[in-house]
Structures are given as structure tokens and as C-alpha cells.
Symmetry: C2
Subunit: 160 residues, 2 copies
DNA sequence: TTTAGTTATTTCAAACATAAAATATCTAAG
DNA sequence: CTTAGATATTTTATGTTTGAAATAACTAAA
């Protein structure tokens, strides 16, 4: 075996292991942060993480979003969004409106109460994230975020 | 306002935004990868991701694990593990044994069929992860993994 | 216009997940 | 020995999530 073949083999192996390890670390990191945020949202605001996520998505779009847009943006199934919106609607935080000429679609948006409610939570959420990621310097955070950008663009369109 | 105060303020702001952005990217990345692996596991092996995760954990411990160890390692609740193990047991992939002198605990381990079954899936899983993370070079992957190590150590013990 | 195919959403069944309460067992202080 | 507290697991109620099937509405070709 030549030196370059040896190098190639070595790289392949390192490669394999390092990527799997990276994936496991990535998964553990997000589970840890997600779990902590979930608990704080629950104890502080009596809200679940999925509901917070929905409200965060809707807050960014004052004009509202289609169910399918929400589903794609949050990367969860359509049926899942239906249930979440149903429950948020029951609580008066969200409302469905029929605005298009398209009667299949319903535009979902935060109610006034929903916006007010979210703004409070968002402030805490913001601080918590900064606390939980305080290990990273601003520069590190920026670099890391840039590195992870690929996924957003590469896979955005994947239908579920 | 002095120059240093200005700088401080600027840094604080950058800081805030970059960390939140990092968290959102991290979350999107793991959701994207997780979703893809979930689908491939389902279509190829007719297994759910949570069950795969349990089997992966047990595979690393031929002597078996306690329910509480599993729960902590996978970062999910106790009750959740009970259900997963129940279903895996029904399928003959996992078994509970009473080995200790402690009758509260049950040691869970893969059956022979479970091990054989997992080994097949693990091979594909390994390849898939390498494919899905192929955007990262081995060096990048290694560095990134090292960077994310903090979470494993910082939060490992957090009870849920 | 009719209708075949597409798109948007909901419904459904099963599984997954959480948090709190219940159960069972162990441990150790008195 | 008794019992108060700790530990390990399961049970329960509620909510989340998926994937497939059903429903409803739109679009465009014949």
C-alpha cells in the first residue's frame, strides 16, 4: 500500500467516526438546551415549548401564515400544526382567518393577546438562551452559526 | 458616552443576537438531520427513531442498563423509557432481567435478536450520518464536535 | 363543462413524551 | 424492630408527533 493510499484510508476512518461523533454531540446539545428551555417556559409561563415555537413563528409574520408554511418552517407534520393551532385558538392566543380567494387555506395569526403574551415570554427566552450559551463568545457564536447555516439552505424544501 | 461604553453596548447587543441565532441554527440542523434519519430508519428497517436510540444505548452496554440510566443517557423522562422498553420487549428485541439484590431495579438488555437487528441498522445509520454531514470535512467535524463537548459535561447530571 | 390531477388542510390511530402521583423497595436512624 | 425518608420504576392524564387516509377546494386539459 502506498503512502497516499494509507493516508486515504486513515482519513476515511477518521472521517467516519468524527462525523458520527459530531452528530451525537449536536443532538445532545440541542436536547439539553431544549429541555432546559422547555422546563423554564413551563414553570415560568405555563406554556409548552411547541406552543412557544408556533407563537414565535407567527410573531415574525404579522400578516399571518398558512398552516403549510408553519409546518414547513417548524419542520413538523401538517397534522401536528392543526392540533397546536386548535389548542392555541381555544386559549385565545391565535386565530384562523379566511382571507384568500382560496377556501382551502386558512391564514393563522396571533391575536392581540397572543402578541402581548409572546412578547413577555420572548424576553425571558432571549435571556435564557444567552445564559445557556454563555460558554460561547460572541465571535464563536457567530462563526458557529455561520457553519451550521448549510442545513437551513440545503434542506429547507424537503417535504415531510 | 465613552468609547469603551459604546464598545460594551455594541458587544452586548451582538452577543445577544449571535447566541440566539446560533441556538436557532443548532435546532434547525438537528431537526433536519433527525427527520431525515427518522424517515430512512422507518422506510428501510420499519423502526422508529426513539427505538433505534434505545437500542443504540443498550448495544454499548452488553451487561445491560437500569431504566434510570437509560432515561438519563437519552435525556428523556422515566415514564417514556418504560413505554419504549415495553414495546421493544413485546417485539422480542429487549428483555428485562432481575439481577440485583435490589428488587426495585430491572436491568434491561438487548436480546440476541435485538443485537443482530441493531448491528444491521447501525451500519446504515453510520453511512447515512456520513452522507448527511458530508458537507463537513473530517477536521471541521472534529473541531465542531470538540466545541459542542461543553454541553455533555456541563449538563450531564441535570435531573428531569 | 367535465374530470383528472394537484394542493391545503384535517382526521385518525398509534406511538412518543412529559410531569405528577402512585407503588414498591431499600436504607438507616432511633 | 419500626419507621421516616430516599430511590427506582410504573401508572396516569394530558399533550405532542408522525404518517397515512380522508376531505375539500383549486387548476387545467380535453
Amino acid at each position: 500500500m502506498t503512502a497516499s493510499q494509507e493516508l486515504l484510508k486513515t482519513n476515511k476512518t477518521t472521517d467516519d467516526k468524527s462525523r458520527v461523533r459530531l452528530w451525537l454531540r449536536l443532538l445532545r446539545a440541542s436536547r439539553a438546551i431544549e429541555g432546559e428551555l422547555r422546563e423554564r417556559l413551563r414553570t415560568t409561563y405555563n406554556v409548552t415549548l411547541p406552543r412557544f415555537d408556533v407563537m414565535a413563528a407567527l410573531y415574525r409574520e404579522p400578516e399571518g401564515m398558512l398552516m403549510s408554511q408553519l409546518s414547513k418552517y417548524l419542520m413538523v407534520s401538517n397534522g401536528n400544526v392543526t392540533g397546536l393551532i386548535d389548542r392555541l385558538t381555544t386559549n385565545g392566543l391565535v386565530q384562523r382567518t379566511l382571507r384568500d380567494g382560496d377556501r382551502r387555506t386558512s391564514v393563522v395569526l396571533l391575536t392581540k393577546e397572543g402578541r402581548k403574551n409572546f412578547e413577555q415570554m420572548a424576553k425571558s427566552h432571549h435571556e435564557w438562551v444567552n445564559e445557556l450559551l454563555s460558554h460561547f463568545s460572541p465571535d464563536e457564536a457567530q462563526n458557529l452559526a455561520e457553519t451550521l447555516k448549510v442545513f437551513a439552505s440545503d434542506w429547507e424544501g424537503h417535504p415531510r
